[in-house]
Symmetry: C2
Subunit: 344 residues, 2 copies
């Protein structure tokens, strides 16, 4: 078993665990149109990265072999048991709620290979489906059976995380209207918009299981790998062939979206607004994208983003030294590395 | 001091208490456009009915004179103190979040005499402002300082309330597309969409203060007066002069919105779809509305709605017999009666 195999196995197991319980955790009850809309993206798949990180983080803390324990009766630090899957599902639900509302804001048509919720249903249903999942995420985090004082802290962390995701999305929208954004401002935005949910996923097991000393290092791990994950997403948009990416390569450039690559390139004097002439993903050519990527490479911006992502992974995985040295911890390190090595 | 004066005084005091703390409870911090949007409807005013009911319910349970205690250090059943205002603000924030998202769904332009958030700002900002308030409501309910086991129960009630509000709104949208809706289906929808937040406001003090025996009667009070409140809203749309109502009288009829009055009229064989010819509130005449109201009166539908509302108030206020007999309880009874006597 190579280390890379092992990470893939762990990701596959986490994905399977989450997929297996979504039907019972988010049942379709009346009003059915609402719950079918709420389930639309959950059913469309996804890597379940965040809940998988939550499960592995718990296993690292409990010092048990990955996949060896029933997640519904998972051992706490003081000899009790909690429903860890309920917490994992909570995190996946938050992710799904933000995708539904983000797709409305970005007016995106497709997500996970299926129509966005506001396209498959309508605007009102999509807003409501997101709002319903929002409450469901809190209900799931309340249902782990953890001690009340730990549940209160977990809920506070979850509410704070939701607030920060909204703030990050708001900064993202604000930045699109601004003339200049620095790399640091961009990364601060990514931390809020993307990384805090990774941080919540990684650190909430420490809170609800009672491993208080591990909350901060795991939160830091989540922030670092979450930021690296977003930077890698930005890079993949430039470097992964269209057929593998599932959308037009370079679409961020065409749509004028800010990424760490273009923010850096602008700081180097590149006219990033005019890197491609086409203003539609339907009319842009591969040659145009190739030329734009060449210019970004010459400016050192692709290398810069790659290095920032790698540095974040080194720092983030290093924080795991505070945890017991076991296989689950190694897998969390491996997932960090996977996030910047993945090709889609 | 007449009883009616007293209710008005209590409502005015509650309104003042909530208004006085909104600046510090929901501060405008970066990203400012997000928080200005989140504050837009909160700043536009409103009766603060639900948080006022929460404060009075707590005073009835604690058996203290209305307005006599500092709401920031309010006495619990076991001799402790909690921040009751934080809970009251939480309820007002939930109300505000649902108004922002509902106005998008209904494509309403005006609310509380100011442009709806998606009109004053834009769609994305309005969705995000609602989402931000959603998290803030949970943060406020987590910040009362109540015992963890009570806070967990309060949060569960709050999350369940949010889920039900979404379900109610979804049924409301679904009903508009349906040929027929019975009075009972309509009232079940109103219970979810409107009444559960009154029920949460009334019963959460019992949960967080530790008066467990009063949770159910206060919840029932909230459901009953909340349903009556909505029926009265429907009636006012037909009977209150346009200038007093702040919008065109009869606009529900023009827009084809279902109300208990029209649902009943249809059950009596009235062709409610064609009660008014105009399909725009700009072109409808007072004479048209008068004729429609006459037909609804002849069908007994206005009297039916009025009786249902009064019956609900009698039942709801009767539930308060489970509470200590004091001035705060009388005021909760008086607010129930006020809700069906108010003229706007």
């Amino acid at each position: 078993m190579t280390p890379s195999d092992s990470v893939e196995t762990a990701l596959e197991r986490g994905r399977r665990e989450i997929n297996a319980v979504l039907d019972e955790e988010v049942p379709v009850v009346p009003p059915e149109s609402l719950y079918r809309a709420a389930r639309h993206l959950l059913d469309a798949g996804g890597k379940r990265l965040r809940p998988t990180i939550l499960l592995l983080s718990a296993e690292a803390l409990a010092d048990v072999d990955p996949g060896s324990r029933d997640y519904r009766t998972f051992p706490t630090a003081d000899g009790g048991h909690i429903d860890l899957l309920s917490a994992a599902v909570s995190i996946e639900i938050i992710q799904s709620f933000t995708l539904i509302h983000d797709d409305i804001m970005d007016d995106d048509d497709l997500r996970r290979g299926v129509p966005a919720v506001h396209r498959e249903f309508d605007l009102s249903t999509a807003i409501l489906a997101g709002d319903t999942l929002y409450a469901a995420a809190f209900e799931k985090m309340l249902a782990t059976g953890a001690r009340p004082e730990r549940t209160v802290r977990a809920l506070s962390a979850l509410a704070r995380t939701c607030t920060e995701i909204c703030e990050g999305q708001s900064f993202d929208i604000e930045f699109e209207k601004r003339a200049t954004v620095t790399s640091e401002e961009y990364l601060d935005m990514v931390e809020l918009k993307t990384a805090v949910l990774f941080a919540a996923a990684a650190s909430l097991p420490a809170t609800i299981l009672g491993h208080d000393e591990a909350v901060d290092p795991l939160y830091g791990y989540g922030i670092d790998v979450g930021c690296a994950f977003q930077i890698q997403d930005d890079l993949l948009d430039l470097t992964t062939p269209t057929e593998k990416l599932g959308k037009q390569r370079g679409s961020d450039l065409v749509e004028g979206k800010r990424t760490l690559v273009t923010v850096h390139a602008r700081e180097q004097g590149v006219d990033v607004e005019n890197l491609v002439d086409s203003d539609s993903v339907d009319s842009v050519t591969e040659a145009e994208i190739d030329a734009a990527v060449d210019r970004l490479e010459s400016a050192g911006s692709i290398e810069y983003a790659r290095e920032r992502a790698n540095d974040l992974i080194v720092r983030g995985t290093g924080r795991l030294d505070a945890l017991p040295d076991n296989e689950a911890r190694s897998l969390l390190e491996g997932i960090g590395e996977y996030l910047v090595e993945r090709e889609y």
